[in-house]
């Protein structure tokens, strides 16, 4: 029987992996990808609790997170070329 705790644990593991990625990697693209992992861990938790409580507000939140992530990705993708071009500023 699968419980909420399973999902919490999985989400925690993913979140921590994301944190480690942010802290250890120097490539800014990979750092951003690690942030996406963390966001996804949070999304998983939101979906899980939505399912547990039967309230779809969690889904709405995930929807919003996705919108924000998309905006962030678009912005980051534009910023990245500039960071790479000017390595002094991009000394992550």
């Amino acid at each position: 029987m699968i419980t909420v705790n399973h999902y919490i644990a999985l989400s925690a593991v993913l979140f921590v992996i994301g944190v480690v990625g942010v802290l250890t990697r120097r490539n800014i693209i990979i750092v951003m990808m690690s942030i996406e992992i963390m966001l996804n861990a949070a999304n998983l938790l939101l979906v899980t609790f939505a399912r547990q409580s039967g309230d779809m507000t969690g889904h709405v939140f995930v929807f919003m997170v996705m919108a924000v992530a998309a905006a962030e990705a678009a912005r980051g993708a534009c910023d990245h070329p500039r960071v790479v071009q000017e390595p002094r500023d991009g000394g992550y």
Partner: protein, 651 residues
């Protein structure tokens, strides 16, 4: 009934003309542009004529027709219908506006024939017709206001028609700003009316005005004063009259149509329309009469020593408008409307005549260059003379009847100080006769004084398309007054027609109880004053021109008065010193150099300095290494989560 039911065609037709000429006019031939402009106005005139006939066919107490086109604005309790209303008052104005407008369109075809921007001119002119008709026909204050603004806009556009000319564009701006000051009052009055009555429809507001408002109360006085402020702007009364003489920078037909016959009478129309309110505010009535009488004499004296033919007419317009307001102020609305009508005829004729003269003189407007034109321009001369006699108040021409009725009303009026107004107006009548005949003698008699021989050789009578309107208008100036002919013993045709509009409860709008003898005496006085003015003018400008120069050379009082009058009493300069300069000074020294530079910039700079100082304190924590921030965040997260865990485990 064909006519009244199609009343909405009356404003729409000129709008269609304006749209065609404004959008695709430059692609059309001049002839096509003229056909569109004149045709649309002419059709509009025909519809208006039919509507007028319908109105006449109705019983006198049923002569109000309202046609609701659609609901225009609906917000909360506020409703504004796009509705047109025809009653005797608007019908009279309708006839004047469409009729004179049509004639001036015809005249313009000839006069503007050589101008660049021909379609633009007619688009504006048609747009003006639309706005003016909307102003007259609108069934509520908002619609009137739209027309009111529209005519102001068109006036601005047409004054600045020769926009390459600095003086023309300045004059346009001046007219616009002056009008805006008045419009501001009008707008406030509309808001106040809505606040008081909960509606802006004429049919809702006026019948209940007497019950809702106390006689002479604050509300009604405020509303009417604000309304009158609007009227002074639009109708060029003291203190907002200075734009009208400058407005003569526009083409002459425009001066005739907008700045003599129609738009400037909008203020009179508005006051007459709101007579139910004005009757309740004796103080406002007094002010209206006072301003009217003062303007009449003031503008007349300013017209005395002008040399620009159109400026003389402009001051005469201001003066005549003063008469109309005087009539309104003493409660003689019928006389005011009557004078609007007759004035439209003879003043349009005069302006168009002066346009014809200017046309013949190759654009010369200075009367000192003219003289003896009577022989070379017989048609213009004849029509001009008729109109001049009309404005001087010589029987049996139109001006005599209407002006005399105003003077009679002033003499018999209920307003305090009405005898003073009568004296002022009577003197103004003499002055009017004097300067108008000065104009006439300087222009049409004597010898041609123009120096440029090209101009001398070129003097010619204008084409038929220009003289025909002159003839028609002069004819109207002759017969127009007969509408008020049976004035002795209880009203006349126009009065009977208009009375339903002005017969309000609680106010005696009926005929004056006056003996025939007194009336004849007053007539005699006014005619005598007119004749006196004419004879004086004839002495100084035709019989013995050198006498005037001698008089001036004597110096002293006469010389200084002359200078004062020629400089228009320095009103423009006074306005400049009292209003424009202080505003500029306050903006420059106060708002800019002190408030903006010191206060606003100071605050901004202070904020910047403050946070810069604050930032320099925290700068050490800002390594610029993103990873260190990430570490800080994670440690913070760990700490918070651990703390929360500690708290929840304690439970």
């Amino acid at each position: 009934m064909w006519g009244l039911e199609h009343i909405w065609w009356v404003p729409i037709l000129p709008l269609i003309g304006a749209t065609i000429n404004g959008l695709v006019g430059h692609l059309l031939s001049k002839r096509a542009v003229g056909v569109v402009a004149v045709g649309s106005t002419g059709l509009s005139f025909l519809v208006a004529l039919a509507a007028f006939g319908n109105i006449l066919g109705l019983a006198p107490d049923q002569r109000v027709y309202e046609s609701v086109l659609f609901t225009w604005i609906q917000a909360g309790s506020f409703t504004a219908e796009a509705a047109l209303q025809v009653d005797p008052l608007s019908a009279v104005f309708l006839m004047v506006v469409t009729g004179v407008g049509f004639l001036i369109h015809v005249y313009s075809v000839g006069y503007m024939g050589h101008e660049a921007g021909y379609p633009r001119y007619f688009a504006y002119l048609n747009l003006f017709m639309f706005s003016m008709l909307l102003l007259i026909l609108g069934a509520n204050f908002l619609l009137m206001f739209i027309g009111w603004e529209g005519v102001g806009l068109c006036s601005y556009l047409l004054i600045g028609y020769y926009y390459e000319k600095q003086s023309a564009s300045d004059a346009g701006k001046k007219a616009f700003v002056m009008n805006r000051i008045g419009d501001f009052g009008f707008l406030l009055a509309i808001m106040w009316i809505f606040w008081t009555f909960g509606s802006i429809d004429y049919t809702t507001v006026f019948p209940v005005a007497h019950d809702k408002l106390a006689l002479g109360g604050l509300a009604v006085t405020g509303i009417t004063l604000l309304l009158f402020l609007g009227a002074t702007g639009k109708s060029a009364q003291i203190p907002l009259y200075t734009w009208l003489p400058d407005a003569m920078e526009g083409p002459t037909p425009v001066s005739a149509l907008i700045h003599a016959a129609t738009m400037v009478t909008a203020g009179v129309y508005m006051v007459a329309r709101c007579n139910a309110l004005f009757n309740l505010a004796p103080m406002t009535m007094m002010i209206v009469a006072l301003i009217g009488a003062t303007t009449a004499i003031f503008a007349a004296t300013m017209g005395l020593y002008q040399f620009d033919i159109k400026r003389v007419l402009a001051y005469s317009t201001v003066s005549q408008l003063g008469y109309m307001f005087l009539a309104c102020g003493v409660g003689a609305y019928v006389a005011a409307v009557f004078h609007v009508m007759t004035h439209a005829f003879f003043k349009a004729c005069l302006f168009l005549g002066s346009g014809s003269v200017i046309h013949g003189m190759s654009g010369e407007q200075d009367m000192r260059q003219m003289g003896g034109l009577g022989k070379k321009m017989p048609m213009t001369h004849a029509t001009f003379l008729i109109s001049t006699l009309a404005i001087a108040g010589i029987p049996p021409l139109a001006g005599f009847f209407s002006k005399d009725e105003i003077l009679l009303s002033a003499f018999l009026g209920h307003t305090p100080g009405h005898l003073l107004y009568w004296v002022l107006a009577t003197i103004a009548a003499a002055v009017t006769a004097f300067y108008m005949f000065r104009l006439y003698f300087m222009t049409f008699t004597g010898e041609l004084r123009a120096e440029d021989h090209h101009v001398r050789d070129h003097v010619h009578e204008s084409p038929n398309v220009m003289t025909m309107p002159l003839v028609i208008l002069a004819g109207l100036a002759v017969v127009g007054g007969f509408l008020g002919l049976p004035m002795i013993e209880g009203g006349h045709a126009l009065k009977n027609f208009l009375d339903p509009v002005f017969a309000q409860p609680g106010h005696a709008a009926g005929g004056h109880d006056v003996s025939v003898g007194l009336e004849l005496l007053l007539m005699g006085v006014s005619v005598g004053m007119g004749v006196l003015g004419i004879l004086t003018a004839r002495y100084y400008y035709s019989v013995k021109p050198e006498a005037a120069v001698e008089l001036l050379n004597k110096g002293g009082m006469i010389k200084s008065i002359y200078t004062l009058m020629q400089n228009k009493y320095y009103v423009d300069e006074i306005y400049d010193a009292l209003i424009v300069k202080p505003i500029v000074a306050v903006s420059d020294k106060g708002l800019w150099r002190f408030f903006d530079v010191k206060v606003v910039d100071g605050l901004v700079n202070f904020a910047a300095t403050f946070f810069m100082g604050l930032g320099s304190m925290f700068r050490t924590a800002h390594t610029g290494l993103t990873r260190s921030y990430a570490y800080a965040m994670v440690f913070g997260g760990v700490f918070l989560a651990g703390f929360w865990l500690f708290l929840s485990s304690g439970k």
